[in-house]
Amino acid sequence: MVRSPQQILQNDYLIARAKIIEVAAVLDRIDRAAASSAEAHAKQSTLNTGSGVPPRSDASPEASASSGNAVYSDPSYQKIQNAIAILSDRLPDKTRRIQELLSRPYTPDWMQQFQLPAN
């Protein structure tokens, strides 16, 4: 390797910093939208029931979907969370492992499934 680990850290620190902040901003953006749609939903049901009691966000699938919390169980959101876990583990090869996490799986018997002529 041409550069020392310290040189790389110094050189790429600002790049990593900027990209992590960007990921944080995406997550915050999702949170804000989820919170505001939960609020709108609570108002709506207060109007509907007149009870003044906001519904629990996990009360029913529809309630949770319309309250915005459904996004947290969306597979794409889960993938981001799992990728972040890879970022903070102490194992090597993070880029390849995240790429595989974000890929469709390979099925070795695909040729039989497609009934392609074998060579």
Binding site: L102, R104, L116
Partner: protein, 273 residues
Amino acid sequence: MDYIDPHIHMVSRTTDDYETLAKMGCVAMSEPAFWAGFDRGSVESFRDYFRQLTDFEPKRAAQYGIRHYTWLCINAKEAENVSLSREVIAMIPEFLDAPNVLGIGEIGLNKNTRNEATIFLEHVELAVKYNQQILIHTPHLEDKYQGTRMILDMLTQDSRIDPSRVLVDHVEEHTIREVLDRGFWAGMTMYPISKCTPQRAADMIETYGTERLMANSAGDWGPSKPTAIPDLILELKQRGHPRALIEKIVYQNPNQFFQQSQKWKSIVDEVNR
């Protein structure tokens, strides 16, 4: 520094781009046939496209001292139209003797469907029949891992295919090892957003070495940067890599791979005179 862009779609670029590339050191390029952004309606549309690739583009490039080569096929996105694909495959031999045609490409998969695999195999038959080199497109994003492995399965099960005459493009961190281990050439395609960057290409060079590895810009009609190779050269220089290593990636490797075609040889000799 002189360099070769092994995968760039110049039909999508302006003449100003040719000028910029020439100023940045591009001496030769190879342009695989690809998707126009919409599905073409007939075989005649492909015939005109192949005329553009074999006649008009080399002339446009020559104005700036750049040698232009090309590869012919119908791309994987249009392979769902199996009958049109077969008409195009039957028409391709009309152009194989053109002086800038290096082989069949970029063939590959897009969504990894049965029709795509069928048309891929028919292109491989064409390449074998006419003893052509092959340039491979691997799918993007979440389909790349599965699709690259499917393509390698199809190529390695065919004993007539010599992997040293096949270039597999758009490799990334999770596909590069298998491509190189199986004896193929590998190309890293650098995009400004969403896919591989010059920085990550430099990382892969540091991880996997320089054998049978090259880099390209794609330079297509989408968000892409035709000057991505000069960006990689700068990145490698800034990391302190020697000139010899950089030249191997951006000039000698593509030169060595393409030299397997007689057509390339004569023209690069001319460049070097």
